[in-house]
Structure formats: C-alpha cells, structure tokens
Amino acid sequence: MVTWFENQIPKVVLAPSFVALLIFVYGFIGWTAWVSLTRSRLLPKYDLHGTIQYKKLFSSPRWDTAMENLLVFGVLFIVISMCLGLLLAILLDQKIRVEGALRTIYLYPMALSMIVTGTAWKWIMNPGLGIEAMVRSWGFESFSFDWVINPDMAIYAIVIAGVWQASGFVMALFLAGLRSVDGEIIKAAQVDGIPNWRIYSAIILPSMAPIFLSAFIVLAHLAIKSFDLVIALTGGGPGYATDLPATYMYAMAFSRGDLGQAASSAMVMMGVVFAIVVPYLYSELRAKHD
C-alpha cells in the first residue's frame, strides 16, 4: 500500500544513523567491556577471566597517580573555572560599553585546539626562557616558576592552561543566565531598596541553579576527557607525574600494547563520566516529558 510505504520513509531515513549508533557506540562499548574482562595483551582475546584487569589496574601505581591527578585537576579546574567565569560574567553585567569586545577576548581560547593551548603555555611556563626568566631579569633572582618540569607541581600547570581555555565559556553561560532573569523581579528589588550585591546573591544567583549544573557537567566532562592538553603541555611527564586516565589509556593501547589494561581503564573512565552525566540527562529527559 502506498500509504504504508510513505509511513516508512522517516524510519528509513533514520535507520543508517541508528545502525551506526548501535554498532559504533553501543556495540563498541560492549566490545570494550568484554575485552576488559579478558587477558588480552597485544591482540584481543575473548575468553573471559573475570575482573583480573581491574585488579591489576587498581594495584598499578601509575593508574593511582592518574586517578589522583584527575581528582586534583578536576576539582581545581572546575572550581576555578566556575568562580572565574561567574566573576567575569557579573563584572561584564554592569552595563559596560565595551562588553562585546571584552567578551570576545575572554572567550577566544575556547576556539583553540588544546594542542595549541598546551604549546603556548608550555613556552610561557618554560623555566629557561619563560615567565621565570622574565621575572628574574627584573631583578628577582630567586624567583622560581618551574611547574611544567616539577613533578609535584606539573599538574597545577595543566590547571592554569585548562582554566585559561575554559573559563571564558563558563562566563558566556553565566552571562546568558544573568540576562535571562526576569527584569521585573530585579526592578521590584531595586524599588524595595535592596543593594546590588544582595540582588545578586539572594535573587539572581539562586535562579541560575540549572546553569551552574550544566556548567559543572560540561567542565567535568572536559576534565575527564582531557588528553590533548596534557600531551601538549607535559606529555604526561615528568615521568608519569601528570598522567590522567585518558593518557594512561592511550599509553596502554598504543605504546604498551596492553589491550586489557586499555579497555579496563576506558571502562572506568566511562563509569566516572556516566556517574556524573546520567542523573543529569535522566532528569533533563524526564523534565521534558512532564
């Protein structure tokens, strides 16, 4: 029947993407999950051996460092980016004439590749010729800023570059949020004689809770996936002082030839991402249906 065929067209159009989604996303996740339960080394093996890879993973000091780094980097990156982004948004919200230009300046790093960002900051923070040398040449001979090559501090160097790249984006999100607050509420508060800072802290910021949440989700997601920035800035070093789960996984997969470890570390990464994202997406989808 003609109408029957017509009714199938939308499904036919969606079908290739759906099949791709099933194979390349969900099928592949399944494959990785499976391999993470095997003794695969250089080549994948498909006999299940329980959680042996995960045991090995969690007893590996290098993975320990990577998870610790993720925690330090993630917390600092998210907190500083949020605070800085919020501060910038509030400052920009004071009816500044050059707002457009400033916004452009604060946000442009988001258009850059993490590799470019890493390259630039690596040069700026390089102790021999960068900031350290510059400050010393001003007469502060004992000034030291060697974070990129200092195993204890290198992770903080990555935080600086990460914040530089992402805080402008948080600013843009918050600024849009500030602008979407109902103007009449603010007018009413002004008429009531409530000081400006109170209007922000008591009225505007609480109404932006959903934006805080999405900013958090995006930043957390960025932090967990961070790979290029570390590669470009420190290469995971010195040693593996700045390894993150993403670089650990890559090293296992492509330089160490340990597929089992690569797969299990990828699964842990996905677990962390989903622990953060799934409740959020679930509530979003549900809110939409109501």
């Binding site: 990785t32 946000l107 790093p109 390259t119 990464m269």
Partner: protein, 301 residues
C-alpha cells in the same frame, strides 16, 4: 548659584557616594582590563615570539616586542619544520585537516539535519528512545570506542587513511548535530507539516521546501561547531592516522616535541598560530553562532 550655597549634609553624602561610585567604576574597569590581559597574553607572546629570531628569544624578554621582525619562523613552520623524520613543515598536514574537516562537517551536518527533522516532526514509536540513545552517545569518553574503532577501520581497509578519519568524525559527531537540529525543529509547530501534507507534499518535499529554507541559523551553528571540533581534534587524529595522513594538530604536536636539533621556539609558535588560524578566523567572523553552538551543546533540551 549652587557653588556658593552652604553644603547640606545630604549634599555631602551625595558627593561622597558619587566619589565612591566613581572609584568602584574604576576598580571594575581595572579588573576587566587585567583579565583581558590574562586572556590575551598567551596570544601576544605567541605572535611576538613567532616574529623573533632565535637569538633574540634567548637574550630578550618573553613579553618584549621583537626588535627585528623576521618571518623566517613562519616560513619554516609552514614548509620546513620537522615532524619526526620528515621536514616539510605543517603545510601537508594543514591540507590533510582541510580534507578531513570539509567532508566530515558536510556529511555530519546533512545527516544531523535529516535525523533532527525525523525525530522532531515525524515522531514514530521508538523515535524518542533513539534520540535518548544518541544523547547518551554524545557523552561517552571516546577512549571507550578507541580500540574497537581501530580494529573496525582496519577491517574496512581504512586504517590510517583520511576517509577513515572522515568516517570516524561523522559517526561520533552525529549525536551533537542531530541534537542541534532536533532542538531547532522541535520549536516549529507541527501544524506546518500537517498543512503541507494536506497540500500534497511528501516527506522530502516538506523538508526541502519548508524546513531547509528555515534552517540557515542552525546550519551555521552546526557547521561551526563541527568544524571547530574536527579541526581541533587530536585523539582520533593521533590514534587513527599514519605518517602522511596526520591532521594538523598531530603534526603540530610532533613539531613541538621533536627532540632532534635545536629547539626553535619561534617555529613552534608560528606553527601553533597556523594550526589555530582557521578556527580563530571562524570565531572572529561568526562568534555569535560559535557561542550559540557552545551554549546549545551544554544546555540540553
């Protein structure tokens, strides 16, 4: 005349609060200016360093303007710098990135538009489930598909090729492009499709004559988003390419981290700017759409 009138306490207070206001205003501008410097400094350092000679870099200060402008570093970065064993500069890899990004952006945008149109306007049983699956797919860390994708590309004979990278970017970009178009089309009243159906138009006719002409803003947003994502990608590039098919980000990283010879910081910076130029250009020309994509990508639904 007010100048000679004795000042009332209220007037003094006014004067005081005016001064306070002015001071606050200056403080505000000072802070905004300092932050602007913080964000601009790396770009400034990159540009000035790329225009200095190595000699000047070694002797001069990080933030000094070049005493003598030289474009030597740019020439080297473009056509002479070494990425590992080869020394042909960034140029071939820049074109690789173009060859990857252009088809991948077009394909993923086109498919995203069709998917979004179906999901938003031709809702059938299960369409919402598919959309939810796609949405979750946007969030997976790509590490979890890296190994099987490498094997799949090998099986398809696409390992280390540009078509392989195009395919990868199209597949893993589909979630976001579909999301963009779906969220745009869902705001268009369903009556429009009904009216067109009564007028005798079918699925493709309605898309082509009614929806596509409406879609310019969201097409721009999607194209910019996808272009930025694909151009700036490193993970897929470094995992699925081989010598000769690497995108510009991978080549840049290789130049910067190549251990042979003298470290040429000016060349590194020139190369970094070259690699960043296309996306920066897009940002400067169409910043509004760039921001819209960023916020649309994060504020779902």
């Amino acid at each position: 005349m007010t100048d000679f009138a004795p000042m009332s306490p209220a007037a003094t207070q006014n004067r005081n609060s005016d001064v306070q206001k002015l001071a606050l205003r200056w403080l505000l501008f000072a802070m905004l200016g300092l932050f602007a410097l913080f964000y601009l400094m790396p770009l400034f350092v990159m540009v000035t360093t790329s225009l200095k000679s190595l000699e000047e870099i070694r002797t001069g200060s990080l933030i000094a303007f070049p005493r003598e402008l030289t474009f030597e570093a740019w020439r080297t970065a473009w056509s002479g710098a070494c990425t590992g064993i080869k020394c042909e500069g960034l140029q071939p890899y820049f074109w690789n990135s173009v060859l990857i990004a252009v088809p991948a952006v077009l394909l993923s945008t086109g498919l995203g538009a069709a998917n979004g149109y179906v999901i938003a306007q031709w809702n059938f049983r299960g369409a919402n489930l598919i959309f939810s699956l796609m949405l979750f797919g946007c969030f997976i860390p790509f590490q979890v598909v890296l190994l099987p994708m490498a094997m799949m590309l090998g099986k398809m004979g696409l390992a280390g090729t540009i078509p392989g990278l195009i395919l990868t970017h199209v597949i893993y970009g589909l979630g976001f492009t579909t999301l963009f178009f779906r969220n745009f089309y869902v705001t268009i009243p369903a009556d429009l499709v009904k009216a067109a159906k009564v007028d005798g138009a079918g699925f493709f006719r309605i898309f082509w004559s009614i929806f596509l002409p409406l879609s310019l803003p969201i097409i721009v947003v999607t194209v910019i988003w996808q272009f930025t994502q694909i151009w700036n990608d490193f993970l897929f590039g470094v995992s699925f390419s081989q010598a000769g098919t690497q995108p510009v980000t991978v080549a840049l990283n290789n130049i910067v981290n190549s251990t042979t010879g003298v470290k040429e910081y000016n060349v590194d910076m020139a190369a970094a700017i070259i690699a960043a130029l296309p996306t920066l250009l897009v940002y400067v020309v169409a910043g509004k759409y760039f921001i819209r994509g960023l916020t649309a990508g994060s504020v779902k639904g």
